[in-house]
């Protein structure tokens, strides 16, 4: 579904991603781990289409089409979802209003009619249960005054509402207490099907106790330096990122 070949990305003339190769198939869950500053969030943002990055080289295809040529909203229409590390507040815009527009824009792109008010409300109620959030959320302004945990759960709620094919969770687990973490993990597990895929970007192994990945990749200094199954995450937990650093330290090139 997603194919990344030799992707090189810079911001402010500093190369952050130095040749990423990654393939994610339908039904798979991939975890991307790595120390701070290794380029994890950059990768997530570039896939989602954030503009401030310069693509130096490489290709990214999603369901066979060149993702890098598409506007962020077109990527969303194609079924790409990013759960933000820092969800943005939009004062005065209710969750209901925001999601109605999002859901219907995506439906429109698929040639479907907008959801009527009742079906939409029912869908909201159903998905709210999945993340154990109160119905009052519907009338609150997007992320405004939400606690850290609420914001992260709200991302999973939106993911459930938009029914994406590929979801990237950018450090959704960081800053969550164990109960909230379980809620998030439970949400992902319930939404998982043989047709969709997930990329979990995370700093810690903790989340992977609840969501079992098919593949674990270690990102370090802009490159994937190691890939393996879920045991790789456990190994990292035990030995820390210093182990990767020692093994893979390259002479400085900049």
């Amino acid at each position: 579904m997603l194919k990344i070949k030799n992707l090189r990305v810079a911001i402010n003339n500093i190369e952050i991603l130095k040749g990423i190769n990654l393939e994610v198939k339908r039904g798979e869950i991939h975890a991307i781990m790595g120390p701070n500053g290794s380029g994890k969030s950059t990768l997530a943002n570039v896939i989602a289409g954030r503009e401030e990055y310069d693509i130096l080289g490489g290709t990214v295809t999603f369901k066979g089409t060149d993702l890098l040529q598409m506007a962020p909203e077109e990527r969303a229409h194609e079924g790409l979802f990013l759960a933000f590390q820092y969800p943005v507040e939009i004062p005065g815009v209710s969750m209901a209003n925001f999601l109605k527009q999002a859901v219907n824009e995506i439906r429109k792109s698929r040639g479907e009619n907008p959801l009527d008010a009742r079906s939409f409300l029912n869908k909201m109620r159903e998905k709210l249960q999945l993340v154990e959030m109160d119905e009052k959320l519907i009338s609150r302004s997007v992320n405004e005054g939400f606690s850290g945990g609420e914001k992260k759960r709200n991302e999973i709620f939106q993911m459930a509402m938009l029914d994406p094919q590929l979801s990237i969770l950018d450090e959704t687990d960081s800053g969550l207490d164990i109960d909230a973490l379980k809620v998030v993990a439970n949400g992902v597990n319930k939404l998982r099907t043989k047709d969709n895929a997930f990329i979990l970007v995370t700093h810690y192994q903790r989340l992977l106790n609840y969501i079992v990945p098919d593949m674990v990749h270690v990102l370090y200094n802009g490159k994937i330096v190691q890939s393996g199954d879920k045991d790789l995450a456990l190994h990292l937990e035990e030995y820390g990122y210093d182990w990767v650093k020692k093994e893979k330290e390259e002479p400085a090139t900049i």
Partner: protein, 487 residues
């Protein structure tokens, strides 16, 4: 290079914006009776005679005119415009038809069609449910709906011309009592040449069951519009009043200098809402209406309340400060404003809250949005007299910038002469956040809709204050005005 790509995207957006046409820019091809160009005592006599006015009105007009001649045009606002040649305009233009038609059947179908096109249906079968409308084109009132239904409750709702004929006692007592002719340059001009407008009187203890509304339309070229509105809520009365306006697209600037006076007696409440959409000029700043307006309300009696709500999206220049004089004890004044400027539009708008009575309260919420190369200023005065024990004011002035060529300014003035007064002022300026836009993009919403969503959220506090149908209209209007304003 990615930065170039971004620029061309901005260019595309800008092009799209400049292609956007002002939806209401058509003209109605109708025979018009006009006064000759220019302004002198003869012209004023002409206007007064055409309107068959009593002598006292003519004398008032002449007095105001002589006053105006001695005054100089104010230039203190944060706006620039070339000198206005007051002799080069027409001060009276009226669509030729029977004056004061008895029923809609007598109104020229072309006029009804014009208002229909503007979405203001006057025809019996198409009336907006629960809204009585007075439609004013150029210098005269075309039609007023629901008159009979309102009369049964003792409510007078008619054109100013009719009020001058039929309700002279009220006119003598109230007209010019809140905005006297010598108040300012444009008020003096208006007092001399005003041609029509709306008049409403709500008797004691009556709650007006429907929204009263006036729709102003400038049609004729080279014509100024000088309407005069007077609303009186007697003791314990309540009324909600709406005002809308549009004009054709013309290359020259047209002057609109209106005066609105509100009087709320003891325990009375007046809500006044405006959606102002005069022609703003083209993308190069050519043409558009100069909207120089004086609006003031007097909370005359105890426990009275006046609130102004305005959504300003049109006009080349907007210069208005709807104010409240809080004379009655425990009286309350409110001002809620959204002012949007784009291209070369200029707005210098705000309010004055004058606290005279004890325990008077006022609240100011101003939301400015600037795009293009426009300039948007909030200017507001909070004045607390020695007599105003325990006066309270809260002001919140927010500015939102779209793009980096526009300006937002805040000029708050405070004059506090009573130590028990509590006055709070909050101001913020923000740029529309790229983070917000990207977040919405990522959820499938394109940039234009994303900006509209963020801006609507930003204005929500003010939109909430508008009557339902108006809120929807205001929101749509803002969305249209925003189209392509994003780079």
């Amino acid at each position: 290079m990615p930065t170039d790509e971004k620029k061309s995207e901005e260019q595309r957006m800008l092009e799209k914006m400049t292609r956007r046409e002002y939806k209401y820019g058509f003209t109605t091809d109708i025979e018009t009776e006009s006064a000759p160009k220019g302004l002198n005592e003869d012209i004023i006599r002409f206007i007064s005679t055409r309107k068959n006015e009593p002598e006292f009105m003519l004398q008032r007009r002449l007095k105001a005119f002589r006053r105006w001649e001695k005054m100089t045009e104010p230039r203190w606002a944060f706006i620039t415009f070339p000198p206005i040649d007051y002799q080069d305009a027409i001060y009276y233009a009226a669509p030729k038809q029977k004056v004061g038609p008895e029923s809609l059947d007598e109104v020229d179908p072309k006029l009804l069609e014009t208002f229909d096109k503007l979405g203001i249906p006057l025809g019996e079968q198409k009336r907006l449910a629960g809204v009585a409308v007075d439609a004013v084109m150029d210098s005269i009132s075309v039609a007023t709906t629901f008159k009979k239904e309102l009369e049964e409750l003792g409510i007078i709702f008619c054109s100013m011309s009719e009020a001058i004929q039929n309700h002279q006692e009220l006119i003598k007592k109230y007209l010019g009592s809140v905005v006297p002719p010598g108040d300012n340059y444009f008020a003096a001009l208006n007092s001399a040449v005003f041609s029509d407008g709306s008049f409403a009187y709500i008797p004691k203890g009556v709650r007006c069951p429907m929204e009263l509304s006036t729709y102003f339309r400038i049609n004729a070229a080279n014509t100024g519009q000088f309407e005069r509105t007077l609303i009186i809520a007697d003791e314990g009365a309540y009324v909600s009043y709406l005002e809308g306006c549009t004009a054709p697209m013309r290359d020259e600037n047209q002057l609109h200098a209106a005066v609105v006076e509100l009087i709320a007696h003891k325990d009375a409440e007046i809500k006044y809402s405006t959606v102002q959409n005069w022609y703003p000029g083209d993308e190069k700043g050519k043409g558009g209406i100069y909207n120089f307006v004086t609006k003031r309300g007097l909370c005359e009696g105890a426990n009275s309340k006046i609130s102004w709500t305005q959504v300003e999206t049109g006009s080349a220049i907007t210069w208005k400060y709807p104010s409240v004089i809080l004379q009655g004890d425990n009286s309350e004044g409110e001002f809620h404003s959204v002012a949007f400027t784009n291209n070369f539009q200029q707005a210098d708008t705000g309010t004055k809250m004058i606290h005279v009575g004890k325990n008077t309260r006022s609240r100011i919420v101003s939301k400015g949005i600037s795009a293009g190369r426009s300039n948007n200023s909030y200017r507001g005065l909070v004045k607390v007299y020695e007599t105003a024990d325990n006066a309270r004011n809260f002001s919140q002035c927010d500015s939102l910038l779209i793009g980096d060529k526009c300006g937002a300014h805040t000029f708050p003035y405070l004059e506090i002469k009573n130590k028990t007064a509590k006055v709070e002022h909050e101001a913020t300026t923000s740029k529309i956040g790229e983070d917000q836009i990207f977040y919405l993009n990522q959820r499938g919403i394109d940039t234009e809709n994303a900006v509209a969503l963020v801006v609507n959220g930003y204005c929500k506090e003010v939109f909430k204050k508008l009557p339902m149908e108006f809120a929807v209209e205001a929101q749509k209007l803002l969305e249209i005005s925003l189209e392509g304003s994003v780079g």
